[in-house]
């Protein structure tokens, strides 16, 4: 009880302190500096309509590469920790026909929608990460509905690696063509899609990278799910 009281007092003081700091960053005021630059130039410089996407993929490409890496680490780490010589799913309760049939119907749609999300990343909210997560949800549903279901994890791992490599390769192609890592040569040099701003075929290499990320995130999250749902079985 004392602990709870102490915790509450401590937290209130910390909270008050944070609030004091935040008081100096008034809510709703225009505090943009670099942000405004992005808004002003995003269309001509990247071909994307969605400024967030341009920031994520173009201006702050290193962050995104890192972000992809973080997820890769998580997938690898989970795989490493839950690695067992022989693993199988050991669920006791079958999914009812309601769930299994629902899943059958939903999975194609969910996957399609995931793909929709990541290829429209430069136009609408979302992009590779939510798209990938959506695709992974399709696999999650399969796991939930069918107690024996397994993704082809070897293939998934390979896809995961290969798309990761291709992301870096896209960056290196930029380095080779434009002299800068992650240089968007498609937009900057080729000017591909200049006529198309706001339509699908625009945004330089954003759709390519978001497709890569979408596949990567999808396979990685599915891999994590796969690893977590299986248990060791004796041989």
């Amino acid at each position: 009880m004392l602990k709870r009281a102490l915790a509450i007092i401590t937290l209130l003081i910390i909270g008050y302190w944070l609030a004091q700091g935040l008081a100096g960053v008034p809510f709703g005021e225009d505090k943009m500096l670099v942000g405004q630059y992005y808004l002003d130039h995003v269309k001509e410089q990247t071909g994307a309509v969605n400024a967030v996407t341009a920031v994520v993929v173009n201006y702050r490409g290193f962050d995104t590469l890192g972000e992809v890496t973080v997820l890769f680490i998580a997938s690898t780490g989970v795989g490493a920790l839950l690695w067992r010589r022989r693993k199988e799913r050991t669920a006791r309760t079958e999914g009812s026909i309601v769930l299994t049939t629902g899943t059958r119907l939903l999975v194609p749609f969910v996957m399609l929608f995931g793909a929709y999300i990541f290829i429209h990343g430069h136009l609408t909210p979302g992009g590779g990460f939510p798209g990938g997560a959506t695709i992974a949800t399709a696999f999650l549903l399969l796991y939930m509905a069918f107690v024996q279901y397994e993704i082809p994890h070897k293939a998934f791992e390979k896809v995961e690696g290969a798309v990761g490599v291709s992301y870096v390769l896209v960056g290196l192609i930029g380095l080779a063509i434009g002299g800068y890592f992650l240089y968007d040569w498609i937009w900057q040099d080729w000017g591909f899609g200049t006529e198309n701003i706001g339509r699908l075929l625009s945004g330089g290499f954003i759709p390519i990278i978001y497709t890569i990320i979408g596949l990567k995130v999808g396979t990685e999250l599915s891999g994590i799910i796969d690893n977590m749902l299986k248990e060791e079985v004796s041989e």
């Binding site: 009812s96 769930l99 629902g102």
Partner: protein, 135 residues
Amino acid sequence: MNALTAIGEALVLIGTFFYFLSALGLIRMPDVYNRMQTSTKSATLGSLGVMAGVGIWALGTDFGSAAWLTKSLVIATFLLLTNPISAHALIRAAYKSGIPLWEGSVVDKYREHLEAGKKEEVEAPKETPEEGGEE
């Protein structure tokens, strides 16, 4: 204000009212089974109302387009399909994790069904749910 926006507003109002009802059901009903009885239906209908309402309403505005309607109907359909599935999954989870029926319940044919199945398998009954009790 035109007819479309008026219909849309009405539908949205109905929808949000059912949202409210749904949450109220969560509070008023005595146990988890009956809470689900009241809340899932209302939430789904509420969503239907809100989505359709927004789609129709948007059509009546200067910025609206058919895409608004189709997209919101896709969402509505999705919810119409998935909400009952999750309700079903949840009620099954409630039952299988050992939460007893409300004391005023009059019949439990599912228990009989399960016990009949168990007699055949000759297996120890799993009485204690893994995380059912709580606190």
